[in-house]
Symmetry: C3
Subunit: 341 residues, 3 copies
């Protein structure tokens, strides 16, 4: 691919260029591995030392730190260099993407009653069910399965091997990664003399606009009502979202999180990797759950919440863990001592 | 879809109707969102307050609580309303399902040596290997892969993108959700001078009748013998079951559970979401493991077992976690105090 | 399948045969379920009692324990019986595999610009993108998706439904199990006034030789540089490996492990099932992390590390967990007592 002129970058993305607009860069790179053909960025002041030593041809930097860049390194000065970097990657990826128009592979199996926008792309061996709707500019990769009456919003991209089951819908400008399953049955059974009787899951999944869903992540359909994912939500890989869960706008969850059925999670929350949120809980807006924390009660106050056993060398852990099983008794012994005259 | 007459429901599912048998309902809904066209249910006495305020046209209710329903709300009186609700969802879902006969999509790749029952349905682009057997009334969704000599029991439903590998079998009336992988190699290697030599996994997976397996769940094939899942077992999404595990009849596991190789889990157990069961352990019947608990020893007595770090505001957690790393030393200091005269 | 002569086994795999070379065995079995047509093995001295009672026709055994085998049981004597057993399973599996030559299924969708070795096998409905390279002897199962410019090394086996996305590569002699996703986008977003702006992931995934990757495991592509998996690495099922992670040679991870972005894990490490490794950490060579442990800081010294809440009967756990939330205060009370004259 041809390189990008710095002048072209600032003309498109803004910022003030301190350097030669005709200088070209051929890749985006971190400060410490950048070379003269790279544009880099300083996301946090704590990497300031790397900035001073970088070999990058250009750097995206905040006004206060612009002077730290080495002599000869061009600067793109902007208030939020990390956000600028994000936008630059988008512009860059757009340039890299194959510039062919929309395509509909002949091997795709599209039900005649499905409504597929003329400029949607449908990959090889995709299957689109009866009554499904695929919006303008949507891109469906190889082996995507879209169920009956399911709906894909405009500009949304389903990577290869995504499954969107019957009656489920995702809004506009979404991205779903391979293997994600949207709309499998929620886990519901009534006990019956030692066996389990299935509760058919009659709801669906409704996903807002600008949502990203990671590889092999599962979002179950609701039992009666729907499972609802708000606008701008970002879910990483291998996440489980149970039936009838509600996730508020712009909430983000890292990999391997499990959210049990009917939990209601607010907007602008973050959930660290491997955390577990039990069912039927309420979590208000602006709550941040640390990685691997198990949320067993509702959280009604914004803030950061944690609960992880501190790891240690195995021998130390063994002694402390064994003592932990007597902790309540230790407390009683302490009380007894305190009461001694 | 046409509504259902209350008289038709009790004629099919039993119970005593206190109300007009010609009244029709169009959906099943929770008490708090039900309207006059909804049938609802009271699963637990603790929702009694909701019953008194519901706008539902009809409610499934136990005899002792039937009088709490509002005037004008029809009652279907039954000893176990939750079980009745489960059966109602099944009847309801059956009415909703497309009423076409068995279909075999022309794009499916079926090996000529596979035995497929005449009334089995095979979805688009499914692949069925040599010697596989697909039982009467089985339904295989789009993109299902069934390996050589694998077997699917009568009436079992494999959702789109399920993989059942060579020589593995699932019994009758099962449900497997998208992305589930049955019969991948167990994780077995012999150390060899710092590297790992693969132990080929020569066993298979045998699954009983009436089993449900969640989306993207994995059940590995055995190393020498088989991995065995009993009758009536229910596994949620994203569960890992290692090689040679045995799961007893009617045991249920919630999402994201990990069961390591050769664990033997009894019948009628429940395992909460995100729990981990280490390898080569034995768990007897009627054991209940709480969510996110790590089972590191065999459990030989029925009961409820737990082991989760209690979450807290981050600052409190940090202090307690730091102290926990000195817990054994604290115990010693307490002992020393106790010995003081 | 015809049985294997003991003489044939030692001629191929080495070891000293103490018994009749013309004796045949028909299966490999554990000591306790073996019969006269089985070959078994003694992996650890602690199973010595089983050896004395086994009905196996032949047993693989170390020199020091060979005399413990029952009279009439043939012995294959070797220094490392477990490694010998591993090699025997490989030889056995090779004999079981269908002995047909390489095949290219007519339903596969292979881009004309892809380079596929003549003796590679391509399964039904596989999709191979433009510019992809498939090495000699590689085997791609049904429904495999290989993206544009991706590369599969010689002899590597991709099971059905594996996804290897654009520009990613795996070396020689690898095994990847169904549903694995290699090269989905890493989880990267810049905050922007309460919403998230996507950072396009411009790197790829590079995987060495002799790597095994489990079912539904995900390895994300790098943000700028690549995610790198060393030679001989073994990853079990349902593992999440974030962007820009580096895993050193011959490291093994059990199921359900999560490794957050930019973590650097050394060579010859093991990570137990369900463990979580936070982002941007460094773990040196020869570190062993116990199952379900959460690694929150770098580990710079080889050894075994653990951090799991000990499980208990629920009532005991509840009391200890409640006390744990006051642990720091208890320490202060202990200090106060110690200071008393």
């Amino acid at each position: 691919m041809r390189g990008a002129r710095l002048g072209e970058i600032v003309a498109t993305l803004g910022g003030t260029l301190d350097g030669d607009p005709d200088r070209t860069v051929e890749r985006i790179a971190p400060l410490d591995t950048a070379d003269g053909r790279s544009v880099s960025f300083l996301a946090h002041a704590r990497y300031r030392g790397q900035l001073a030593r970088t070999a990058a041809g250009a750097v995206i930097v905040a006004p206060a730190l612009a002077d730290d860049a080495p002599v000869g390194c061009a600067r793109i000065v902007t208030a939020d260099p990390y956000l600028y970097y994000a936008r630059l990657t988008q512009w860059w990826a757009q340039r890299l993407r194959d510039a062919h128009g929309p395509q509909r592979h002949t091997s795709a199996q599209i039900d005649p009653t499905a409504e597929v926008a003329d400029d949607a792309s449908i990959g090889p061996l995709a299957v689109i069910g009866p009554g499904a709707r695929i919006g303008p500019g949507a891109q469906l990769g190889a082996h995507v399965v879209v169920g009956a009456r399911a709906s894909v919003g405009s500009g949304t991209r389903l990577a290869p091997r995504v499954t969107l089951l019957d009656d489920c819908e995702i809004g506009a400008r979404g991205v779903v990664h391979p293997g994600a399953v949207i709309g499998a049955d929620g886990f519901g059974f009534a006990p019956d003399q030692g066996a389990w009787t299935k509760i058919e899951q009659l709801g669906a999944v409704r996903i807002g606009d600008d949502v990203e869903i990671g590889a092999n992540t599962c979002i179950d359909r609701g039992a009666l009502g729907d499972t609802v994912i708000g606008h701008g939500v970002k879910l990483d890989n291998l996440i489980q979202v149970g039936h009838n869960v509600r996730v508020g706008d712009h909430t983000a969850m890292a990999g391997c999180v499990g959210v049990a059925g009917s939990a209601r999670i607010g907007a602008h929350c973050t959930v660290g990797g491997g955390a577990v949120i039990l069912g039927h809980l309420k979590i208000v807006d602006h709550v941040h759950v640390s990685a691997a924390t198990v949320v067993t009660r509702s959280i009604l106050k914004p803030g950061q919440y944690s609960g992880v056993f501190p790891f240690d060398e195995n021998a130390s852990w063994e002694k402390n863990a064994a003592t932990l099983r007597q902790l309540h008794a230790l407390r009683d012994r302490l009380r007894a001592l305190e009461k001694k005259p």
